[in-house]
């Protein structure tokens, strides 16, 4: 491939899933209008959703899912050892995601509720992958946005800087002329969540639950004050903050 006079080699890419719904991987096969161009940039080495190849030498490893079993830790470390670039792909990999709901309950109770008497090997908590390996880039989202993934892959291919928006979801929400959900009496995490999803949830009149994690340098104190000032429930706020596990450092800090 030739781009602006320099050759770009196809990026050897592998995708690996841990505890998750594989919805983020499935997103890669979406956005059909640019799918052929997208695939042309890639040499797919390991990808359950779009290819039967099983090779382990990838330049870029997309790692999806959270870590909930000890054997997963070993597999994750092996992937890290082989990949030049490791990308935490999707909310589960970046923050633990929805699976981290179980972190609030005793392990035995969780197993009993879900699996009955069956013997299950699971860790007490669901972890983000950066708890075990070094992560080079993160692409958060539940599910990830295909446009953002394409943009980042193109940036890697053209050796351009890679960045996620640093500002919160409200910017995009205001640009879509949405009525603020706080004005409708709801607690929305938009003011502290990282933009890049084009405010898809508030645009559908559903509050933002922060699947993309915190924006850069958020003002958590002012946010909690806002919830109180509006006479809304801080309990509800905390539940929302815990939903995708992206705000643990703020919740823990508060005590």
């Amino acid at each position: 491939m030739n781009h602006l006079g320099f050759d770009t080699e196809k990026l050897k890419i592998g995708s690996f899933d841990f505890t998750c719904c594989e919805g983020c991987q499935l997103q890669l096969a979406n956005h059909e209008s640019t799918l052929p161009e997208f695939l042309a940039l890639l040499d797919i080495r390991n990808f359950r959703e779009i290819s039967s190849e099983r090779l382990d030498d990838s330049d870029i490893a997309l790692v999806e899912g959270s870590i909930t079993r000890s054997d997963e830790v070993e597999r994750l470390k092996a992937i890290r050892a082989q990949a030049k670039v490791l990308v935490a792909y999707g909310t589960c990999a970046c923050f633990g995601g929805m699976n981290a709901q179980k972190n609030k309950f005793p392990k035995e109770e969780c197993i009993r509720t879900v699996y009955g008497d069956k013997q299950i090997d699971t860790m007490p908590e669901a972890h983000k992958i950066s708890d075990f390996v070094q992560v080079d880039y993160s692409i958060p989202g539940c599910p990830v946005s295909k446009e953002e993934v394409e943009r980042i892959v193109v940036s890697i291919a053209t050796r351009s800087p890679i960045a996620l928006p640093k500002y919160p979801v409200c910017v995009e929400c205001k640009q879509r002329l949405n009525t603020c959900l706080f004005d409708l009496g709801e607690v929305c995490l938009g003011p502290i969540s990282r933009a890049g999803c084009d405010a898809v949830c508030p645009s559908g009149k559903t509050v933002c639950l922060g699947c993309r994690g915190p924006a850069d340098d958020i003002n958590y104190a002012s946010f909690t004050e806002l919830v109180r000032d509006k006479g809304l429930s801080t309990e509800e706020m905390r539940e929302k903050l815990a939903f995708y596990n992206g705000f643990t450092e703020y919740l823990n800090h508060e005590g």
Binding site: M1, N2, H3, L4, G5, T8, T34, E37, F38, A40, L41, E150, R151, V153, V154, S155, A157, T158, S160, K166, Y167, P168, C170, V171, K174, Q175, L177, T179, C180, F182, D183, L184, G185, G190, P191, I192, A215, D216, D217, I218, N219, A221, S222, F223, E225, L226, D229
Partner: protein, 359 residues
């Protein structure tokens, strides 16, 4: 300027014909708020029945219809190690209906910045030239302070302006296009009584302001208060969410992004409206951030609006619509920030400072 009087029914018929024949935007109710209050925005309209003629205020201004939130500036195509650039200034004609005096004044301020500076924007010019503006007066909301900014009346920047004088509208016609459109509708020459009603109406509007923001001498106050602790105090509340700048009719800052197509065969250079309150507004290549603190960022927003920058002739660019104040989830609004600032300065001028201790 030509003046005419038109009955309310006839005006509605005129507006209906106008918006049916053109791509048009006008105030529409989009939601009902928590306390039952209607929420309005400038939205596409295709008949008079869709327009909320008696709307109060739109949450967002009409700015984005002339300066879109995202706009392509040019397209590049890469071929055989070379590239071509394609630039287009297409702007289909649009009608903006129902703008308030402050909104039209805001567009006049944008004209000043985008067209009369050293680098006029051809993109802005194309849209502005093709925008037909119909203004309407109204009684101010309790928190409107355009009168304080002297932006509560407007004499240019629109094609047609309608003042409510009871049974009819008093029309100020400011373009031949508007004059020609109106020819097909029944209008009359203003009588002396109509003139009186217009004067009464203006008086009523002027007397109805409940919020006054004292802005005389403000540019100097701002210079003197550059290091004031009030910036940190208000900055500590700021969520850095940029909502204020998005809804503001005169915030015009933007960021330019390159979007390379997935096939690498082309790329698009896009302008995106931005806000000086966003964390990376003053971040440069290499990662240094000139304004890492909330308080500093908020301060510059106020400086730009109430002191002015050289680019706009050191003019205040706030028109006093208070959209920023209404939208701010952290309850930061011009009235309180400016009052705080003045209080700080005034108390400092009246207090007697103790003499330094002898050692």
């Amino acid at each position: 300027m030509i003046y005419k009087v038109i009955s309310k029914n006839e005006f509605r018929a005129f507006v209906d014909a106008l918006v049916r024949a053109n791509t048009s935007y006008g105030p529409r109710q989009v939601d009902t708020g928590r306390n039952g209050e209607p929420v309005y925005q400038f939205m596409p309209v295709s008949s008079a029945s869709e327009i909320a003629f008696d709307y109060t205020v739109t949450t967002s201004s009409a700015k984005h219809l002339i300066m879109p939130f995202r706009e392509e500036l040019s397209k590049f195509r890469f071929r055989d190690g070379d590239w071509d650039q394609e630039v287009r200034y297409d702007a289909p004609p649009i009608v903006l209906f129902g703008l308030r005096p402050c909104d039209i004044n805001a567009i006049n301020i944008l004209d000043e910045v985008m067209l009369n500076g050293p680098y006029p924007s051809p993109y802005y010019l194309a849209r502005r030239k093709n925008t037909f503006i119909v203004g309407m007066d109204h009684l101010p909301l309790p928190d409107c302070f355009c009168r304080s900014m002297n932006r509560h009346t407007v004499s240019r920047g629109f094609n047609l302006f309608a003042s409510d004088i009871g049974e009819s509208y008093f029309l100020s016609i400011n373009s031949s296009k508007a004059y020609n459109f109106l020819k097909e509708f029944e209008t009359t020459e203003p009588t002396e009584e109509d003139d009186c009603k217009l004067i009464e109406r203006r008086k009523l509007i002027k007397q109805s302001f409940k919020t006054n923001v004292e802005v005389t001498g403000l540019p100097m106050f701002l210079d003197l208060e550059f290091d004031s602790p009030i910036w940190e105090k208000w900055g500590n509340k700021c969520l850095n969410c940029g909502s204020c700048a998005m809804v503001c009719p005169t915030c015009y800052c933007y960021n330019v992004e390159e979007r390379v197509a997935t096939g690498l065969e082309s790329s698009s250079r896009q302008r995106r409206l931005y806000s000086c309150n966003l964390i990376d507004f003053a971040e440069v290549s290499g990662g240094h951030n000139f304004r890492p603190k909330n308080g500093d960022r908020l301060k510059y927003r106020y400086y730009h609006h109430y002191r002015g920058f050289a680019i706009n002739d050191n003019q205040q660019i706030c028109v006093g619509c208070n959209r920023c104040g209404r939208t701010c989830l952290a309850s930061i609004n011009p009235k309180e920030v400016i009052n705080d600032l003045r209080l700080e300065k005034e108390s400092c001028m009246t207090c007697v400072s103790p003499s330094p201790q002898r050692s």
